[in-house]
């Protein structure tokens, strides 16, 4: 293997004089006494390689030895990834001893000596391609498919396959012969370089089905589809993380991969703490059992932030290949972009906007492009749905990360500072946000069939009422309460009703935090129906009185179990409110 010596150090960027050949993005290790510090080559100039250290550079000296591995940054893929907590380089955090992470400390993602119950699915003589299923292993609630490694090119003949039984991860469970006559031994674990998309599928299809998040403002007003992409930009304090965690809890995916990229450690701790207790809505099992966490918090090595999102995406693609519905959440993609900026800056590259590297838009586009629904050769269908948060500097969406993301993500959930200040959570701006999937014919067909007839018309009607309400509010605040027609007050209060009764949702209330599609459709119809009734009011304060009472009742309904006694009682009280207060003008 190639060796080298450090000749320059600037924070976590090292320059290495290399003695032999070296690859771009090759992994190398600085040998420092008993410590081995991992780094990735990011630029080569003649005999000098520039590498980013996945550690702090403290204590390094010019002349320190570096050894190159010949490999790119790879992850291990195999049974046992679910419910694990990894760092940004796929080290198993639980397996590291002590309260502190020591410099250069590593622990393998999968313990190869662990045994799993393997059952063969392919037969000897079968022709296999990369991604073809050889057998399966139970992993929590899933059947973890063992596939022909993705690095294999061309067709292979299955020579031998292990009988059903218990095997260690690194035991040979199959032998295959390539077209060149060479025989390869297959284990249950394979490796894949994180920056390369896994493209062993037959085709990618256009998204059609809704991906339920349990949040009304998303599922109803701006739905994301299975295999879709979305991004959530918001200033600090607007509730990005709470929103993402709510989605992580309420979804119906088979596998959830959470990437905490350069964010707060305590937020991850909260997930560690709550997920083992929470129930998975899809299976009734524990949420933890389908969740893998990749955690590179803001005080962990900066260079590993970039790695962390790719590690998460690669594991997501791996489970997609098996035929599962995977949700990938990354909080926050801005921290990854900042890590790129720090490095680009240290390398003295000419900067793009706001000192970000000029390739940022392309890097982001490629990453979002890895999501989607795929069909494998045997038509098994899997998906990666991706939601990323963006932390725009100063809360201003006109900045490179937000802008680059807007070009590739199909759903946009704008978190509004104004709504957050008014404690109207989730602070997603219902009109400023969008879902491009609402225009998809595939989604329209889906909603007609699986939600209800004319669903999208109703959604649009709610949005129209909301925007009329905003206009009315502006007029009222310009002209004053008394100087506008009563209709303006009506319009305003209808939009307030939709906001309070439908859009706002309490993520910390056990009942309100998650709303089923059935409940959402009931609620939307009920709210629209109430808005449709027209009444005579004495004056504008009678309007606000009436709607405040309705809002209160709808809120009480949201806090009650769907169709419970309380729920029905409050629903009835809404009717009574009409009878008591006003006489229909018809």
């Amino acid at each position: 293997m190639t060796k080298g010596k450090i000749i320059g150090i600037l924070s976590n960027l090292i320059q290495i004089k290399v003695l032999d050949s070296v690859k771009q993005n090759e992994i190398c290790f600085v040998e420092k006494g008993s410590q081995r510090l991992m780094a990735e080559v990011i630029k080569i100039n003649g005999a000098i390689a520039f590498a980013q250290l996945f550690e702090a550079g403290t204590g390094l000296q010019a002349g320190d030895e570096v050894s190159f591995t010949g490999e790119l940054l790879e992850v291990s893929l195999g049974p046992g990834l679910l419910s694990k907590n990894f760092d940004g380089l796929q080290n198993d955090l639980e397996a590291m001893p002590g309260s502190f992470i020591k410099t250069g400390q590593r622990s393998p993602a999968l313990d190869l000596s662990q045994s799993h119950k393997f059952s063969p699915l392919a037969n000897v003589g079968n022709t296999l391609m990369a991604g073809s299923i050889i057998g399966e292993v139970p992993e929590k609630a899933l059947k973890h498919k063992i596939m022909l490694p993705f690095k294999f090119k061309g067709a292979y003949k299955l020579l031998e396959v292990a009988h059903a039984g218990v095997y260690k991860l690194d035991d040979c469970i199959a032998k295959v012969e390539g077209e060149d006559g060479r025989v390869h031994e297959i284990t249950m674990v394979q490796k894949w370089p994180v920056k390369w998309p896994i493209k062993v599928y037959k085709e990618k299809s256009r998204p059609s089905d809704i991906f339920q998040t349990g949040l009304r403002v998303i599922d109803t007003l701006n739905p994301i589809t299975e295999g879709g992409t979305a991004y959530i930009p918001g200033a600090f304090g607007t509730g990005k993380t709470v929103l993402q965690q709510a989605i992580a809890k309420n979804n119906r995916a088979d596998v959830v991969i959470l990437v905490a990229c350069g964010e707060r450690a305590n937020e991850v701790v909260e997930i560690f703490h709550s997920f083992p207790e929470l129930e998975d809505l899809a299976t009734g099992g524990k949420l933890k059992d389908k969740t893998t966490i990749v955690c590179n918090t803001s005080n962990m090595p900066v260079a590993a932030r970039e790695a962390s999102v790719y590690v998460g995406m690669t594991m997501a693609e791996y489970y997609r290949c098996m035929g599962y519905k995977v949700l990938l959440l990354a909080d926050s993609t801005s921290r990854w972009a900042q890590a790129l900026r720090e490095m680009s800056n240290r390398m003295e590259e000419l900067p793009g906007t706001d000192a970000f590297p000029v390739e940022l838009p392309a890097v982001i586009a490629n990453f979002y492009g890895r999501a989607g629904i795929t069909k494998m050769a045997d038509n098994r269908r899997g998906s990666v749905t991706f939601l990323g948060t963006v932390s725009p500097a100063g809360g201003n969406f006109k900045e490179p990360v937000t802008e680059s993301t807007s070009k590739v993500a199909r759903c946009f959930y704008a978190l509004s500072q104004k709504r957050a200040d008014a404690k109207r959570y989730p602070a997603i701006d219902p009109l400023g946000s969008y879902s491009r999937y609402l225009d998809y014919e595939e989604f329209q067909q889906f909603s007609e069939k699986h939600i209800e007839k004319d669903w999208i018309k109703k959604v649009n009607k709610a949005k129209t009422l909301l925007s009329k309400g905003i206009e009315a509010r502006d007029q009222i605040s310009i002209l004053g309460d008394d100087s506008v027609p009563l209709d303006y007050h009506l319009d305003f209060w209808k939009s307030e009703l939709i906001d309070f009764a439908f859009i706002q949702q309490d993520s910390f209330d056990a009942i309100d935090m998650n709303s089923s599609l059935e409940r959402q459709s009931f609620q939307l119809n009920r709210v629209l129906e109430v808005c449709d009734r027209s009444y005579e009011f004495e004056d504008f304060s009678a309007v606000s009185q009436h709607y405040k009472k309705l809002i209160n009742l709808f809120k009480q309904m949201n806090y009650s179990d769907f169709n419970s006694e309380d729920f029905k009682k409050f629903n009835q009280q809404i009717e009574d409110e009409f009878k008591a207060e006003q006489i229909p003008a018809s």
């Binding site: 204590g59 000296q61 955090l93 992470i101 450690a265 305590n266 005080n299 008394d482």
Partner: protein, 439 residues
């Protein structure tokens, strides 16, 4: 601070800027401490045989033949229980009258706590200030700054909060604070009778700005010592983080780094996160809670320093003057404590979350009414009621001078609601209204 016998002395400096000097040297470690004509410096770049040092007290008067000696190790700090009650400067040298400490030296750049070994912070940290305890409840192990304009008495409030909160140990890091404020801290600490649980590292505005860069590491290392090794409940005070970031910008500028937003270094987020993320609740029982001050320019929170801070810390407390009463309050709209969900309604009374939100929402109605009034519109009956409510809310709860218990805050809250509103106007769960609405 003398070089060991075998350490060579370099006397040929190649280049000097206001903050750095560069020379040819071999066998130098990255981050190593050094002395340039007796001034403390640190290695910040190695390029072949050329080494760049950051000179903390500035390079004014340093000659090209200045003597440079390397220490052979990164910055270190003496740690001992005897630190308690003492005052030190940015180099860890005592600035009070006490004797020199004899203790074991340790590297100041600590390691990262493994996130899976952290405990969920869930212990209520009461301060007696309703703007904090009621609206933005603090939790041990949290990190939170005060955002304040220069005209706000933020250091006084910081000292007040620190002394009222329950802790075993307080570590104060003063960065560029005025000498007057330094004396104020000393006086308050001594008056409180708790001065022997306090350790202070002070860099005042008279001291060279780059020396400030050393303060957070000293403070955090000391905090970690007491919290991890002694299992104590440690409260860290850092003031003023804006001046710390300004010092970062100076170094980055002298290193020819391309500045990002507001002339701040591109690594500002990581630099600040490294400090704030020291806040932790250890599984063994000890904890570090960080309360900092980030001073603002005319309330501008989109500036890179408060902006990056907001993304790192678990909330923020805005100090502001109430326009009507002139009282200093913690702004209920822009302030936030992210960890309050771990304690409110769990460690405090069940009605806490909903009551708190209702009060703030109604206070927002009052703010709207006020702007209506300012624009010359007639106020309706509801507007007038909400304005009256807002006055009472500030007087009976938000005033930072008040010192009241958590139950009392909630009772006062319900009293305010029933004095000014009807139950259907407050949007609180019926169950709580039935129990707590004053009869």
């Amino acid at each position: 601070m003398k070089a060991a016998a075998f350490q060579p002395v370099y006397t040929k400096i190649k280049a000097l800027t206001k903050a750095t000097c560069t020379l040819e040297a071999s066998g130098v470690q990255y981050d190593e401490l050094a002395w340039v004509d007796g001034r403390t410096a640190q290695v910040i770049k190695v390029d072949g045989s050329s080494v760049t040092l950051q000179v903390f007290s500035g390079t004014e008067g340093i000659g090209t033949k200045a003597k440079v000696v390397f220490s052979g190790s990164p910055p270190q700090l003496k740690l001992s229980p005897l630190l308690a009650g003492r005052y030190f400067n940015a180099f860890g040298i005592a600035i009070d009258d006490g004797s020199e400490l004899q203790a074991e030296e340790r590297d100041v750049k600590g390691q990262t706590v493994n996130p899976v070994r952290r405990q969920l912070p869930s212990e209520f940290l009461a301060t007696g200030i309703a703007g904090i305890d009621l609206n933005n409840t603090l939790v041990t192990g949290q990190k939170i700054p005060f955002f304040a304009n220069p005209d706000q008495p933020y250091n006084q409030i910081l000292a007040e909060v620190a002394l009222r909160a329950d802790s075993d140990r307080i570590i104060l890091g003063g960065m560029g604070i005025s000498h007057d404020d330094y004396l104020m801290f000393r006086e308050k600490f001594e008056q409180s009778g708790a001065s022997d649980k306090i350790v202070s590292y002070i860099n005042t505005s008279e001291d060279p700005p780059l020396e400030r860069l050393l303060i957070p590491d000293l403070v955090c290392t000391t905090a970690e010592y007491f919290a991890y090794e002694k299992q104590e409940k440690v409260l860290v005070l850092l003031s003023d983080m804006t001046l710390y970031a300004d010092a970062l910008a100076i170094v980055s500028n002298k290193m020819d780094q391309i500045p990002s937003k507001d002339a701040m270094p591109g690594s500002l987020y990581s630099d600040l996160a490294r400090i704030y993320e020291k806040a932790v609740q250890f599984q063994e029982g000890g904890s570090i809670t960080i309360i900092a001050v980030t001073s603002l320019n005319d309330g501008d929170i989109t500036h890179a320093i408060p902006d990056n801070t907001g993304y790192i810390t678990e909330g923020q407390l805005y100090l502001k003057k109430d326009p009507e009463s002139g009282l200093t309050i913690i702004d209920p709209f822009r302030s936030l404590s992210r960890l309050k969900q771990n304690v409110i309604g769990i460690k405090t009374r069940e009605d806490h979350p909903q009551l708190m939100n209702a009060l703030v929402r109604l206070y927002a109605d009052a703010a709207e009414a006020r702007s209506k009034k300012e624009n010359g519109f007639d106020l309706n009956a509801y507007d007038l009621r909400s304005l009256k409510f807002a006055q009472a809310y500030v007087r009976d709860l938000l005033d930072v001078q008040l010192n009241i218990g958590p139950e009392e805050m909630l009772d006062r809250g319900w009293k305010l609601l029933s004095d000014h509103f009807e139950p259907f106007e407050i949007g609180i769960r019926q169950k709580f209204i039935d129990t707590y609405w004053p009869k």
